[in-house]
Amino acid sequence: MIIVFAVFLLTLLVLTAVAVVRTENLFVAVMLMAIFSLLMATNFFILDAADVALTEAAVGAGVTTVIFLGALALTAEQEKPIVSGRWLPLAVVSVTVLVIIYASFDQPRLGDPGAPAHQHVAPWYLEKTAEFIDIPNIVTAVLASYRGYDTLGEVFVVFAACIGVLFLLSVPPVKPQKSKSSDNSSGLRHHLIPQVVGRLLVPFIFLFGLYVQFHGEYGPGGGFQAGAIIATGIILYALLEGEAAALNAIPKSVLMAMVCGGAMLYGMVGVAGMILGGNFLDYSVLHSDPVIGQQMGIILIEAGVGITVCGALLSIFHAFAERD
């Protein structure tokens, strides 16, 4: 039965993708893209990837949509209709789809336990995690410990992208700024229903974000998801009460300290391992019992990841929102 549901969702995914490309109103396209992300998250969940589904729902459907809308407010909402030159790309794209579908028959079938991807390191991870790290969520164990270098690199990419956005958007606009109307900065304060519902929701979003952060070793979750969820909560607050209120609660200097401090915390845990006589990002030496050392290291670097992601996403949001 689940396979019928999966086929239905995947078909919807393709239809949404076509709709995103066809519509000429960019606001509609961005909204359809949020639906696309939500469908994608459901598909990930069906394919046993609970952590990935949580990330896609928080980041893809939540934060990405807000950032796209922020950019739309600064550019144009309507796309110019294309006049010519669509047949060549259409032909190239169609031929490529047919080639990939032809090649897909050489791929292992969905769920084939003998597929090459399941033969290399994955069985080792599944077998030895209980012994070496002793936390139930293997995704977190691989993310934070076995492949800690990868994750460190990803955190620094987020850091670098955030710095790039701030550099590009902190230059004052060339044209004289339009005088800010008063309702622009007060958010949705005059709309009763969004305000009441939003105020009720914000604390629970924070609570859920913290739960995802600290429960990441035992269930689906971790620093990436928690950072995105907490950032979403603060963005909701900014939309309700106005951006000034959100900046008042968490000033920009704090956000910058979060972006740098989280990445540094991650690096320092690695360096601490070196000082104590192990390798870089080897957590076993952090405690006399290597298993507890691993758990300590994972909790610390997950905290670093969460702080950096939350700070970076909020900085990016404020950079777009301020330019209005």
Binding site: A17, V20, N43, T64, G70, A71, L90, V139, V158
Partner: protein, 119 residues
């Protein structure tokens, strides 16, 4: 029938990948191009997660006191989890460049930018 459905994820991957690519090459609007690019990225995510699925398995979270449970492959999931967050950061960087282009040229349509920037 079920044999054929086992390849359905790959076909959806191919379709979404190429729909996104079409938006990047055929559409002139820069924001539409970025939407296409993130769609293309999502298609690759779907491909990786499809590779991680094992029949009859569950999410790779160990359960105490449960024997003989098989788990899906955690490695592709880890790679995609981090890639999603990096994806939103790089998309934001692209959007920041689009905003600056709009301020410099007054438009985000590729044809008009080429005209405005001269021969």
């Amino acid at each position: 029938m079920l044999e054929i459905l086992g390849y359905y994820n790959y076909w959806v991957f191919a379709l979404v990948l190429m729909i996104g690519f079409y938006a990047v090459v055929a559409r002139g609007n820069l924001i539409k191009k970025l939407l296409g690019l993130s769609m293309l990225q999502s298609a690759v995510f779907l491909m990786y997660i499809t590779l991680s699925k094992v029949e009859g398995a569950t999410a790779p979270i160990l359960q105490k006191g449960v024997e003989d449970q098989i788990y899906s492959n955690p490695l592709p999931q880890v790679l995609i989890l981090t890639a999603i967050v990096v994806g939103v950061s790089t998309t934001a960087l692209g959007l920041a460049i689009v905003v600056r282009i709009k301020e410099a040229y007054g438009t985000i349509e590729e044809q008009d930018i080429l005209k405005a920037s001269g021969p």
